[in-house]
């Protein structure tokens, strides 16, 4: 239990710092803004009570806001993700429900499940985020292009991270 908290806490720190200090300063053009820190929310354990997950999501968002100087924007989006996450988990649950040994990563849940779960969360996250940022439907298709390209970039980063850190176990 303690080790779980430490593990997730460490992941939280690393992802938020990577987001705030590295990815934020990456020059990938005006359309591609990856938000890898969503991986932390994606990887929250299944058995975590929903209300704790909600608060954790809020804290994650506000932490990223601090780096982006966008007070409350990421917090609002992440809180919404935290709110819809239980429903999404229920919708995507395996036939026999989640087992205690299961964790939301590619190696344990399979490539298809992980990519679709992460994909949905990333898409919702990016859609809300970019719409909030623009805060209008003006130039909607440009915003849409940013959403799609950024989501793809985030997903690529996400999958690469998964492959890097879970490679050994997957090979067994």
């Amino acid at each position: 239990m303690i080790s779980d908290i430490l593990r997730h806490g460490f992941r939280f720190l690393v992802l938020v710092l990577v987001q705030g200090l590295v990815l934020k300063n990456m020059e990938l053009g005006p359309f591609v803004n990856p938000f890898l820190y969503v991986l932390f929310i994606i990887q929250l354990p299944f058995e975590l009570p929903a209300w704790i997950a909600l608060i954790v999501c809020f804290v994650t968002g506000i932490s990223v806001d601090v780096f982006y100087n966008t007070m409350g924007m990421h917090a609002a989006v992440c809180t919404f993700i935290g709110f819809m996450r239980p429903a999404l988990l229920r919708f995507m649950s395996p036939r026999d429900g989640y087992e205690n040994t299961m964790q939301p990563n590619m190696q344990l849940m399979g490539r298809l499940w992980f990519i679709s779960f992460a994909g949905i969360i990333v898409l919702i996250h990016h859609f809300m985020l970019f719409m909030l940022e623009v805060f209008s439907f003006h130039d909607f298709f440009w915003t849409l292009l940013r959403i799609v390209l950024s989501s793809v970039a985030t997903l690529v980063f996400l999958l690469v991270t998964q492959l890097l850190f879970y490679r050994n176990k997957a090979a067994e």
Partner: protein, 280 residues
């Protein structure tokens, strides 16, 4: 009341979501509208120090360009200094007593090759004839005199370092202006010897030696060395001064080439005088 509690416990998740979301949105509206940096922004101490640490790391990648930029700026500033201008008020009747005509320009250059441990040391700079460098121009560093340009190619020049047996600099005591000739004291690249300083000069350890402005390579007042010890040899009328060079030749990185705009005029005049002397 009971019903309210039941309602709250039953819908706590949704209510918590609403509360947090409301909080986030109110933050968003408030802070983004007023553009005010709150406690929770990059302005606070924690993230500020983290960003500073990142900057401390990443600024090393730009050091080279930054140094070049600063050196260029320094050269520009030196060209505008009062010492770079020659007092042009030759006629006392002229009222325009604030007019200075520029005599020295400084071209910044980077040391691309250097040595200190040979008897005759040369420095190579990344400036050449394309940048207006000509032989016999002086070279100085922010700390003091470096040497004199010897050969010039299109984009590079070699500089006869002060650490060279043929290199003599006319130096004077900053305090009272008595001057002598400064030579390197091999093999130590940090010391030099000042010869021929008149015995009436008053000095003490730690006095500064600066360029005298005689000759046409260096402007007056560029630091050269610091007096360490001095003595008059028996049967001699002059001081021999051991001086510490102000320029650290081993750490030389960016220097300035001194362009004397009135050099030709001065040389021509001196030549003419010498020739008329011979005719007699």
């Amino acid at each position: 009341m009971r019903n309210l509690l039941v309602f709250l416990t039953r819908n706590y998740f949704f209510l918590l979501f609403l509360a947090l979301e409301f909080f986030a949105v109110s933050l968003l509206v408030r802070y983004n509208y007023f553009h005010r940096a709150g406690a929770v922004s990059t302005a606070n101490a924690l993230t500020g120090s983290m960003l500073e640490a990142r900057d401390n790391m990443t600024e090393y990648f730009g050091l080279k360009a930054e140094n070049a930029r600063l050196a260029r700026e320094n050269a520009l500033l030196r060209s505008q200094q009062k010492g770079a201008f020659m007092d042009y008020t030759t006629n006392v009747d002229t009222i325009n007593d604030t007019i200075y005509k520029q005599q020295y320009q400084y071209v910044e250059a980077k040391v691309v090759d250097n040595s200190v441990n040979r008897r005759n040391n040369y420095i190579t700079l990344n400036r050449g004839s394309a940048q207006g460098i000509k032989p016999d121009m002086g070279v100085i560093s922010p700390d003091g005199i470096v040497g004199i340009v010897k050969d010039v190619s299109e984009n590079f020049c070699t500089v006869m370092s002060l650490l060279h047996k043929d290199m003599h600099v006319s130096a004077k005591l900053k305090k009272d202006g008595t001057f002598g000739q400064l030579d390197w004291n091999p093999p130590d690249y940090t010391t030099a010897i000042l010869h021929d300083l008149p015995s009436h000069a008053k000095m003490k350890k730690g006095d500064t030696l600066v360029s005298s402005g005689l000759g046409d390579a260096f402007p007056e007042g560029i630091p050269v060395g610091i007096v360490q010890t001095f003595k008059i040899k028996s049967g001699d009328n002059f001081f021999t001064v051991d001086a510490k060079l102000t320029t650290d030749f081993k750490k030389l990185k960016y220097v300035y080439v001194v362009r004397n705009l009135m050099k030709d005029e001065q040389q021509e005049l001196q030549k003419k005088t010498l020739e008329s002397d011979k005719d007699k």
